[in-house]
Symmetry: C2
Subunit: 174 residues, 2 copies
């Protein structure tokens, strides 16, 4: 939907606070009130933005071994966060029960199943892994790691992946 993609562009160019009904309408060359035909209210607009972000973040993954699949998922999510730093935080704050959110969970669960994690444990592990990855990506775009250099943040991300992979492997031996 044009309204949503323009809202995302506006958020990227300025910041989330700049995404005002009036500013968005002006960008679309239309009056503020016209927006309420396409979106029921502002909360709905923000939900749409989150959905757009999720759809962009979760790529249909190719055939990969599970550690690479997990790394690809995390890398894609991190890249999306950096592309849309002002909208990304919304992702952690709005419980996503949408199709794209389910696809993200499935992607991790698939990696866990490939690794050989018992089916009764995959949901729990999936929640912990996705939370750790989301937390890292959010921290980075929110400026929590601004004291670190870019290469240092990359090294942190690599270590995160290493720890997550190890934690899966140790659950296989148990």
């Amino acid at each position: 939907m044009r309204v949503l993609s323009e809202a995302l562009a506006l958020a990227d160019e300025r910041e989330l606070d700049a995404v005002t009904m009036a500013a968005l309408a002006q960008r679309l060359g239309v009056t503020t009130m016209a927006l309420y035909r396409h979106v029921t209210n502002k909360a709905d607009l923000l939900d749409g933005l989150v959905e757009l972000l999720l759809a962009e973040a979760v790529q249909p993954a190719p055939q990969l071994a599970w550690p690479e699949r997990l790394a690809a998922f995390a890398t894609d999510l991190r890249a999306t966060a950096r592309r849309h730093p002002s909208v990304f935080p919304l992702l952690l704050e709005r419980p996503a029960a949408t199709a794209a959110a389910r696809q993200a969970r499935d992607e991790i669960s698939l990696a866990l199943a490939d690794a050989g994690i018992p089916q009764q444990d995959t949901d729990q592990m999936q929640r912990l892994l996705s939370t750790a990855i989301l937390g890292f990506a959010l921290s980075e775009v929110a400026g929590r790691f601004d004291a670190q250099t870019a290469p240092q943040r990359d090294a942190d991300f690599e270590l995160l992946l290493e720890i997550l992979t190890e934690s899966i492997q140790s659950r296989l031996r148990a």
Copy 2:
């Protein structure tokens, strides 16, 4: 400061959006404009709220073995999140360079040093651990785990601690 503690109480009783300069002033029995004597603007007010939260979350820890010290830190942080669910998300979004933030980092670094992590690695590990714990606490209060029962979320939290502890131990053997 009375202004900050009342703002926190207001956020707890209603929600963050309800913390408006007018509503806060009314609660203090004073006019809106009087607030600008105690706080330079609303952003400053929110920063003060974050600081208040951090101070509450980070308790001066007793003498504990490192796994218990780490667990105590995480448990305290999680409890603070649940006590102030609407303000807590701000903690991830405002890079905290304050005294309380430093104390939180030191608490984890101390546990890592006790565990025997080489000094050159503690900062990096500390960032990853605190990010995972913050991510969990934020997810929980933001409703990302609403599909899970309370006992299930508790079990998730225990597993998180277990994984983090394991990741420290595996770095000792390396």
